[in-house]
């Protein structure tokens, strides 16, 4: 999959920037620390939008295309922010055979976004994930730290509604 690039405006704070700059400062002597800096940046911002990759590129003195190339090569990097509530659908084998794809389809419909995307108001995001080890509850989704198991597509609107308030 070509990663989706978020259209949500960048809302980085001066505190986040100061944190990232500190990481860059201690890493910029060695360009091979680029991955490390990117991981830290994702920890700070939750994702790696243009503005963040530009800070990394300029700070590490690496062309921005090199940063972007790495960010699109590894699955661990996200170009889309996490919402206040992150819906994560398990696509492990057990969940998959029990109909996880239908849960994703329903979530896409209800939330109005695709996988790896965030709603414009920053409230909800949607992603798929590998097996989370709750196969007995298949199919499973998590919303932040809450786990919902043995779901059917018709359960989805109710769950979303709980967080819409």
């Amino acid at each position: 999959m070509v990663k989706k690039i978020s259209k949500n405006p960048f809302n980085g704070t001066p505190e986040q920037e100061a944190k990232l700059m500190a990481v860059i400062e201690e890493s910029k002597h060695d360009k091979s620390l680029l991955m490390h800096v990117m991981q830290e940046a994702q920890g700070i911002y939750g994702y790696l939008p243009f503005e963040v990759q530009k800070m990394i590129a300029d700070g590490m003195n690496v062309p921005i295309e090199k940063v972007y190339g790495v960010s699109t090569f590894y699955a661990q990097f996200s170009l889309s922010p996490k919402g206040e509530y992150n819906f994560s659908v398990c696509l492990g084998t057990a969940c998959y055979v029990k109909g996880a794809q239908e849960l994703i389809d329903k979530l896409e419909e209800v939330l109005g976004i695709g996988a790896k995307e965030c709603t414009p108001d920053g409230k909800f995001s949607l992603e798929d994930c590998r097996c989370i080890g709750a196969c007995g509850l298949a199919p499973v989704i998590t919303v932040n730290d809450e786990v919902y198991g043995k779901l059917e597509a018709k359960d989805i609107p109710g769950i979303v509604a709980k967080y819409q308030a």
Partner: protein
């Protein structure tokens, strides 16, 4: 170097240890075909096309010869059925994701993929048809187009861009979705591409090509109300022949002039004239800056790829750039002012076409402050390849053309102008002028050989007229970066630096005829083409810019003297500080 004994296809050879199988095979007179391999620039073993069989304890195995070193006793087979099958399958797999519109492809006939498909007997282009990626064409740049539907992901363009210290393109995403492009899928024009075109001349397929201006030029020629003047850059005369099957380094000046006449241009002039003019202005500027205390080192501004680089990457140093327009722009400026006046032609009806070894020239003529007459100095800048395509479209049999001359009065150039096309040439031409300007005496020898040759950085110190002049000639932007770091740090001792964006100078420019990797890897293209320019210089009666009668004429009739107020208005320009991101 220690030699090792190997066998290739059963024949014994002794080759230097440590070389790759690919290089060793060259010693044995065997050419192993490659796709992704570019010597010293892209040695990544990615495309798996150069596979050969190597004998081992568990039977023969396929290895990629471009990265596999030879060792003592190695037995190599380059021509087995297994090798052929492997190569053909690789091609068929590449074709499965390839936009196979070969008939209308700009590289039809010069495409390395197409050639190999024929050679390896690919009979069914659709053998592995499946899902095909559909990529949007990136035409945002001023000078070129990227069509990833023709891309085979060899990464030669990426390597060429990295080798220029630019890296505005790279491989994005992974697996089936891998594609070459710029950050965040933005157009090339969003970033600090310097338009050098080295990616284009290194592309094996039709994925990269310059924006075509030939149709517009034909339209101008066919418009009876237009007076169309063409001029050809110094290096074109020694490279154009390659498009018509001539050996690398063949000088085809006469046939080129004949072809241009037959294409229907109203006047066929030589950019050598304005190269000489550049020397008069730039040499004067150098002496002025040294005597009056201007920004030093003075750095040449003939190469628009270099000017773009300086503006984007070293914006604080733009005051070091010579304020002289490039020869292309000076030529157009003189045409639409002095020549228009002299010939009583309305500059509005003059169309200036420049034939250049360069894709950055397509951006240069659209810059601000490049319209001395009120009209753009240069209307169209076309590459050597585009000129060749026009000659072919017009049905001109290049082979049968007689040798003709450029038209007067601006068809006259000197050896100093001719060598502009090779790295160090502008420097040498400037020295030929400066030495005489400083001493007032005629030079005994006009050869400044220290600044010749294709090394990336050449340094020399000359004492002329009591003045010690430290100079450097640099080509390739990675080398320019090295020098500019010194200039920025204030640790640079030179007073005068020539920089050419492309490695080896214009003879190896991004607009030059495309040679396949099999030639690029093993033939010193820039060296041979450059040598042809020095030969031409040696054989010319006039070898110093100041001796060009046309130069004397334009100063007598129009500009007064080099560096005059009028010369500054028409022949000089300005630069802009830029960043790595455009918008």
């Amino acid at each position: 170097m220690e030699m090792v004994n190997i066998k290739i296809n059963g024949m014994p050879f002794s080759v230097p240890g440590g070389v790759t199988i690919l290089e060793a095979a060259r010693y044995a007179g065997i050419e192993i075909p490659t796709l992704c391999y570019l010597k010293e620039i892209n040695e990544i073993g990615a495309c798996r096309f150069c596979m050969v069989e190597v004998a081992g304890p568990r039977g023969n195995r396929l290895v990629s010869s471009c990265v596999f070193p030879v060792n003592e006793g190695m037995e190599i087979f380059t021509n087995t059925q297994k090798v052929h099958d492997s190569r053909r399958t690789t091609l068929e797999l590449l074709l499965s994701a390839h936009d196979r519109k070969c008939l209308s492809c700009v590289r039809s006939g010069s495409c390395e993929l197409q050639k190999l498909c024929l050679e390896y007997g690919v009979e069914n282009e659709s053998r592995y048809d499946g899902e095909k990626p559909q990529w949007e064409i990136d035409a945002t740049a001023t000078h070129m187009v990227r069509d990833n539907n023709k891309c085979i992901l060899c990464r030669r363009c990426v390597a060429a861009c990295d080798n220029q210290a630019i890296s505005v393109i790279g491989a994005n995403a992974r697996g089936f979705d891998t594609h070459i492009g710029s950050a965040f899928e933005m157009g090339l024009n969003s970033f600090s591409c310097v338009e050098c075109g080295q990616c284009i001349v290194n592309c094996p397929t039709g994925a990269l090509y310059e924006k075509d201006d030939t149709k517009a030029v034909f339209d101008a020629i066919n418009d009876p109300d237009k007076f169309v003047i063409v001029n050809t850059a110094p290096s074109i005369r020694v490279t154009l022949g390659e498009c018509f099957g001539y050996k690398v380094g063949t000088n085809v000046t006469g046939k080129m002039a004949a072809a241009l006449h037959r294409l229907g241009f109203n006047k066929v002039f030589d950019t050598d004239f304005s190269a000489d003019l550049t020397i008069m202005e730039e040499g004067t500027e150098l002496l002025h800056r040294i005597k009056e205390g201007g920004a030093l080192p003075l750095i040449t501004s003939c190469s628009p790829g270099w000017v773009n680089y300086c503006e984007h990457y070293f914006p604080e140093q733009i005051e070091n750039l010579s304020s002289c327009k490039s020869p292309q722009q000076m030529f157009g400026a003189v045409m639409k002012t002095w020549y228009a006046q002299k010939m009583n032609i309305d500059p509005a009806s003059i169309v200036v076409v420049a034939v250049m070894p360069c894709t950055a020239k397509k951006g240069e003529n659209k810059r601000d402050d490049q319209a001395a007459s009120g009209f753009a100095d240069v209307d169209y800048s076309i590459t050597t390849r585009e000129l060749a395509s026009m000659i072919k479209t017009a049905g001109i049999n290049f082979d049968l053309l007689p040798d003709e001359q450029f038209d007067n009065p601006l068809g006259e150039g000197t050896g100093a102008g001719v060598i502009f096309g090779a790295t160090g040439g502008v420097m040498e031409a400037a020295l030929r002028y400066a030495a005489e300007a400083l001493t007032g005496k005629e030079l005994d020898s006009v050869d400044f050989t220290e600044v010749r040759g294709t090394e990336g950085i050449k340094e020399a110190t000359y004492t002329v007229g009591g003045l010690e002049l430290k100079v450097a000639a640099v080509s390739g932007l990675k080398n320019a970066q090295t020098i500019m770091e010194k200039v920025k740090a204030g640790t640079c001792e030179y007073q005068f630096i020539e920089v050419m964006a492309c490695p080896g100078g214009c003879v190896n420019g991004g607009g030059q005829p495309i040679q396949p990797a099999s030639v690029r890897n093993f033939v010193d293209l820039k060296g041979i083409r450059g040598q042809a320019l020095y030969e031409a210089d040696k054989n010319l009666p006039l070898r110093k810019s100041q001796d060009n009668p046309a130069i004397k004429m334009v100063y007598d009739e129009f500009f007064g003297e080099p560096g005059s107020h009028k010369a500054h208005e028409i022949l000089h320009t300005s630069y802009v500080k830029k960043s790595l991101y455009n918008d």
